[in-house]
Structure formats: C-alpha cells, structure tokens
C-alpha cells in the first residue's frame, strides 16, 4: 500500500507544497526553528484570545438571551473568518501547484503512470494540505468556540448549536479553499503558458495584499454585533458574515436567509468552477499545458538601453535587476507585496480606529494618527524590503556578478540596494499617506513630509550600513538569533521609534523652523553615513555564496 505509485506521488506532491526551493540545508533547518517559533506564538495568541473571550462571556453570563445571541453571531463570524483567512492564505501561497503543470506533464507522463493517477495524487495532496490547515486552525479555536456555545444565557440546544456552527465554519473554510482553486483554475485554462506564471503571480499579489489588508477588518468582527442586528449593508459583501448567517439559518432564524443563500451560492459556484477547471485540464492536459504563449513584450518595442543614464553603470544594472526580479519572480513579488501589505494593514487598522469627527480634540487625535502612520510603515517596511532583497533567486547564476566584481562596483551595488529600499520602503509609504495628510493638515504637511523623508533615509542608511551583497544572490538563513529576544527587541524599537518620530513630526507641524532643523540634522547625518558606507564598500569585497556553476544540484520538482 505504502509503495503504490499514487501514494508515492501524493507524498511527493504534498512535500513539494512545502518546498520553497530557495533555501540551503542550513537555511531550511533555520526556517524550521522559525516556524516552530511562529507556532509557539500562535498558540500563545490563541490562549490570549481565549482569555479575552472568557472575560467577555463572563460579563455576558447575566445578560438577556437576546443580548447574548447578538454577541454570539458576531463572534462566530470572527471564529469562521480566522480559519477562512488561514486556509485562503495557505492555498494562495501554493497557487502555482494547485493544478498539474508542464513539469508534471513532461516528467510524470514519461513514467508508466496514467493521467488519472497523476490527477488523483494531486487532488489527494491538495486535500491533505488544505485539510491540515482547516483542522489546525479549528483545533486552535476550539476552546473559544466552546466558550461561546456554552454560555449560561444560551437558551437553545448546545448540540444543535455546535453542529450548526461546525457545519457552517467547515463550509466557510471549504469556500475559502475552493475560491482560490477556482481563480487559479480559470487562469490555467485561459492564460497562455508564458503568461501563466506572471498572471498567477499577479493573482497571488492581489490575494495576499487583500488578505493582509482584510486582517484589521477580521479583527473588528467581534465588535460588529450591532451591524448584524441592524442587518448592515456591508454584511452582504463580507463572506464570513454569509456563513454566520448560514449558521443562524440552520438554527431556524429565517431573517438570515439571504446571507445563508449567499453562502451556499458562493460555495457551490466556487466548487463548480474548480471542478470544471480540473475536468477540463484532465481531458486536455497536453493541449492546455502547451498552449502557445505570447511574448513578454511586443517585438516592436526598442530596447531600453537608451533610457539608461550615464555614469555608475553597475548601480543601474543592479537597480534594473532588482526591478525586473520584483516584477517577474513570483516569490519576490509575493514577499515584497506581502510585507508591504502587512504594514499597510496595521496602519489601516489604526486609521479605522481614529476618530475623524472634526472637533478640536478629535482633530488632534486624527493628526497624531496621520503623523504616526507613515513612520510606522517606514519602520516596518525598511527591514521587510531588506529581507526581500536577501532571499536568493538562483544561487548558481550569481557567478556572473562574481566574475564582474570591481572596486567601484562594490559601492555601486550597495547604493543600488539602498535606493531600492528607499523607493519601496520610504518613498512609497510617505507618498501613500501624503494625500491624507494634505486633506487633514493642509499645506503644513509639506514640512512633515520633508522630515519623514529625512528620518526614513537615515533609517535606511543605518540598517544597510554594512550591506555587502548583490540582491537575491546569497543564501537566506532566517532566524539567526534567539526568536523571543528578537521579537522583544523589535517591538521595543518599534514603540520607541514611532513615538519619538511622532513627537518630532508634531513639533515640526507646529513650528516649521523645527522641521527645517530636524530635516537638516537627519539629512546631514544620512549623507555622512552614505559617504562612509561607500568608502567601506570599496574596501570590502562583496559577499557571495561559495557555490560555483559546475556544482551538481538535485532535480527539484515544482521548484520555481
């Protein structure tokens, strides 16, 4: 049984879903430690969540059944949204492996395996993968769910309530998984082979960015009892609300019929598209897999050589390399977008929490939020983009940088990396927040932007002072330090940085002379750091992986 081809294939596909294909053995070991650390943090967060809900339901113990029911529906929407979020995130991360692809066709069809076995194995691996996340997320939330179901003010049958909740949350997770499969299925069938990678990368960017930006909204669901009672308009557009409605409908609440109908229609629709895509691909595996692709760009377009400015050619080469890699490498796109959207989500949460009513006191709070938000984004984005530049692309291909290294080139490589981080992690967040700042602060925001930019520049120079690598060319070894210590240090730095810079920006807004002074000091310090970095870079050779292009590597099925 264990050695049957389908079982072997299921195991292979399942393991491949966890294989990022970018890490050395040492890096993979280190990643395991990081994942264990994250798991420990998730368990701790689950316990904290239980504690929070215990307090809430303790207070509800003496409440009227109506008040209790009102809170339960909102909390259940939240408890369904979390597994949906986790499952959708996990499925979109392995989006390129949801369907058998060209590699499978070329390698597996040459073996004595039937198409049915390949597809069955792929489906089996996906079921295992999805099931793992569905089960894991539900087990983690079980204590909280039990707490909400066993409240003393619950007048109905606990078993019926548990069955309704269990069925609804499982259907919700199924919808999340099928939704991602359906999106990729449509892409596989419609996109040409060459565009498929770019399109699936783009879809992944949108899904990851959407999920991360939705996180603050998910976190607000427990506070939306009033919206459920008033049948607010946005419930029709919030999938977790559909499934919370389904649960209520299963328990006999006919006022939630529309939400329940939406939940069922969405799940059946996603399932139908996913099944259609699988069946279609199964029948036309060879034709769909090898359908001809268009060119990346139109042939008539001239090369971009002329656009390149004179001087610092290595810097321009590396900047262009960074830009093309972020545009085309699914992994790096996902990292950059995921990390930036994560910081965006944090800021969005604060902006949603801010009081935007225009009276004197609230205005001060809104201004403070707008001064804090860009600095928080900059503080989180700079190390995040630095991390994205550290994740390797193809270690064996870096020999060309080693062959062409020269003294001035070292400084230019560092400069290119700094400029990329400045553009993505400083200029972009500041530019995104500037219109909102203009709306609230008026033209006074210009001096604030000046100070923000100088602080961001200094932070980048500080964090990249010892940068000695060409982006994407060295092994990435995550979690080199002690994880809890790193978390505490990072959190303390974040609090100190955002608070201190917020105060500086507040002072700058009140007194423009302060703004000019601060911008001058930070700008001069950053410029001095830049000169020192360039001098240091010239004297130190670039850091490369000790891997040469003649080294033999094992075949990595499903590696990007």
């Amino acid at each position: 049984m264990r050695d049957r081809p389908v079982v072997v294939l299921v195991r292979h596909f399942f393991i491949s879903l966890f294989d990022l294909g970018i890490l050395s053995d040492e890096g993979a070991e280190s990643l395991k430690r990081v994942l264990l650390g994250i798991l420990a943090l998730a368990i701790a967060a689950g316990l904290l969540l239980t504690r929070v809900f215990m307090t809430k339901y303790g207070m509800l113990a003496g409440a009227a059944p109506e008040a209790y029911a009102r809170e339960v529906v909102a909390d259940h929407a939240f408890l369904m949204a979390l597994p949906m979020w986790i499952v959708a995130g996990a499925m979109s991360l392995v989006g390129q492996s949801l369907f058998p692809d060209e590699t499978d066709f070329r390698i597996l069809m040459a073996e004595p395996l039937s198409r049915t076995e390949v597809f069955a194995a792929k489906l089996g691996a996906l079921l295992l993968f999805g099931g793992l996340f569905v089960a894991g997320s539900h087990v983690g939330l079980l204590p909280v769910a039990a707490l909400t179901l066993m409240g003393t003010a619950n007048t109905g049958s606990i078993i019926a309530a548990a069955v309704a909740f269990g069925a609804s949350t499982l259907v919700a997770s199924l919808f999340a998984a099928l939704g991602i499969v359906a999106i990729h299925g449509v892409l596989v069938l419609l996109a040409s082979r060459r565009r498929l990678l770019a399109f699936s990368g783009a879809v992944r960017i949108v899904v990851i960015a959407g999920l991360l930006l939705a996180l603050p909204l998910v976190a607000r669901l427990p506070a939306s009892a009033g919206a459920f009672e008033a049948n607010a308009w946005w419930l029709a557009w919030a999938p977790p609300a559909w499934f919370a409605g389904l649960e209520r409908w299963l328990l006999g609440d006919t006022t939630r019929g529309m939400l329940a109908a939406r939940a069922m229609a969405a799940t059946i629709g996603a399932a139908a598209i996913a099944v259609f895509a699988y069946v279609r691909l199964y029948r036309r595996f060879d034709r769909v897999t090898f359908q001809s692709g268009g060119a990346v760009r139109s042939p008539g377009r001239p090369p971009r050589i002329a656009r390149w400015s004179r001087g610092a050619p290595v810097q321009h080469a590396v900047l262009r390399f960074i830009s093309l890699t972020i545009q085309r490498s699914v992994l790096h796109q996902g990292l950059v977008v995921g990390l930036l959207a994560g910081t965006g989500g944090l800021v969005l949460n604060s902006l949603l929490s801010a009081d935007w009513h225009v009276d004197a006191e609230a205005d001060t709070a809104a201004v403070w939020t707008l001064l804090w938000a860009p600095m928080a984004m900059v503080f989180l984005s700079v190390p995040a983009i630095r991390l994205a530049l550290s994740v390797p692309l193809d270690l064996h291909a870096n020999w060309i940088f080693r062959m062409a290294e020269d003294v001035d080139g070292r400084a230019e490589v560092a400069e290119a990396s700094v400029r990329a981080v400045l553009a993505l992690a400083v200029a972009l967040p500041i530019a995104l927040m500037a219109p909102l700042q203009w709306w609230v602060m008026g033209s006074g925001c210009l001096v604030v932007v000046l100070v923000e930019a100088s602080i961001g520049w200094l932070l980048v120079e500080f964090l990249l002072a010892g940068w000695r690598r060409v982006p994407f060319t060295c092994s990435y070894i995550p979690g080199k330090g002690f994880i809890p210590q790193m978390c505490v240090k990072a959190f303390a730095s974040y609090v100190v940085f955002t608070f201190a810079t917020g105060l500086m920006l507040q002072a700058s807004l009140r007194h423009h002379a302060v703004a000019v002074g601060l911008a001058s000091i930070f700008g001069a310090t950053a410029a001095a750091s830049r000169l020192r970095r360039a001098r240091h870079a010239r004297q130190t050779s670039l850091l490369f992986e000790d891997q040469v292009p003649s080294d033999v590597t094992p075949l990595r099925l499903y590696a990007d």
Binding site: P313, V314, A397
Partner: protein
C-alpha cells in the same frame, strides 16, 4: 599568455587538484580532457577566478590572479558547463546586465547586443523571458555574454552541450577565428571529436594530475581513434566490455 603553476586545490581532506601546471599561448586552443571527477571543473573554476587555489599561482598577460583578481578576471570570458543564468530576464536584458557589470559603454552595448542576438539566432526571441528557452538557446546567450567584452582569454566548459549541429558548427568556426586573432581559448570537454577538430594541444587530467600533454597533430598522424585510445590508457581506464556485461547481467536478472 596564461600561466598555471603548481595549482593545487583541496576541499577539506579531498585533494581535487594536485600541482597542475600548464601554459596557454595567444592564438592557441587547448583541449582539457579527463574522466568525471578528475578535476577539470575545479581547474576551470580556478582559471576563471571563481575559486582560489590552496596552493599555486595563475597569471594572465603578466597579471597575477592573487595580486589583482579584478584586473585578472576582466580579461576573461567564461561559458559554464550548465547554462546557469537569470532566466526571468530576456536574453537582451541579461546581456545588458552583463555589459553594464563589465562597464562597457552604452554605445557599444547598443550595437553589440542586437547584433550578437541576431548572429546567434536569438533575435526572434529577444523579448521572451529565458524561462522558455531550450538549453541550446541558453548556451548561446552565455556564449554571447562571454564574448560581449571582447576578452583575451575564453574559458569554455562543455560549450557544445545542448547546441544543435548548426549552432555547434558556428561556435567551432567562431572559436577558430578568435584564436586566429590571437585570443587564448581553454576548452574543457569530454568530446574527442571536437578536440581533434578544434584544438592545437590537448591536456589530459586524471585524479587531479596531468597525465598527458601533447599537440593534437601528433594523434592525427598516428591514425583514427588514437586520441581516444591514448586517453583510455593515460587515465588508467580498464577494458569496458566486462563492465558492460555485468550491467547486462544485472538488468536481465542474472
């Protein structure tokens, strides 16, 4: 002239290359032969400057690699055994990256890149990402990248691997012309036919040591298959018939 003197490379306890010395003169194409694991790729990596020798010395046109590795590497064009390149780029983008890293002027790149793409029959695919390229197409991109800065020494590790007959013939002719213009060509391969057609001298390596160094013309005078027979003798290979029989017996269940 390229001079290698007493090149030795150890990987931990493993002696990969043991005191290898040879010269390569301008206009010369040297074939570097050896069985798998004999140290050919290690030699190539030392010659192009990707590895540092444990002992020994390399100099090119009077420049010692140990004294000025940057100036030394600037004179070299390299085609690796496997077509490792950044496949998410188009061929033109990759060549532009390489040209910029080599600090070639814009004007030179504007003319050389499209011309090289056209001459190497990559022009039609110039806007296509190299993820869709065959091994032969990638090999041609690497050849273009190695020639872009007009190097004095060309180091090729199995350059004909993946090339079709026409592309192979073009590369062979090109190498002969480059040698005719005084370039040095160091050519590591398993293909005796290419060595006989292309090289002026052959160096045979076995277990990290040079076991044979002779002009190719000597073999041609001694008759067909002479190079292969000499190689088998020099590298201490045994008669393969018994080994082939053992394999046959194994697969037929005997």
């Amino acid at each position: 002239m390229l001079q290698a003197r007493g090149l030795t490379k150890r990987y931990g306890g493993l002696l990969a290359l043991d005191c290898v010395s040879f010269d390569l003169h301008p206009g010369e194409i040297v074939g570097y032969l050896g069985p798998n694991g004999s140290g050919k790729s290690t030699t190539v990596n030392l010659v192009v400057g990707l590895l540092e020798p444990t002992a020994g010395d390399l100099s090119l046109l009077g420049l010692r690699a140990a004294d000025d590795p940057i100036a030394y590497k600037r004179q070299i064009g390299y085609v690796p055994e496997e077509p490792y390149l950044y496949a998410h780029l188009t061929a033109g983008e990759y060549l532009l990256l390489v040209g910029r890293l080599r600090r070639l002027p814009d004007r030179a790149l504007q003319t050389r890149i499209p011309e090289l793409l056209r001459l190497l029959q990559l022009h039609d695919s110039r806007y296509t990402s190299m993820t869709a390229f065959s091994k032969g197409m990638r090999q041609r991109v690497l050849v273009a990248a190695a020639l872009l800065h007009n190097p004095r020494l060309l180091v090729l590790d199995e350059p004909f691997s993946g090339l079709d007959v026409n592309a192979g013939a073009l590369l062979r002719t090109l190498l002969q012309m480059l040698a005719g213009e005084g370039r040095m060509i160091f050519f590591s391969t398993h293909r005796f036919d290419m060595v006989e057609k292309l090289c002026s001298r052959v160096i045979v390596l076995s277990s990290g040591r040079i076991v044979l160094e002779r002009p190719v013309a000597d073999f041609a005078r001694e008759g067909p298959d002479c190079l292969e027979e000499t190689f088998v003798r020099a590298t201490g290979q045994r008669d393969f018939a018994p080994l082939a029989r053992e394999i046959l017996a194994t697969i037929s269940g005997g």
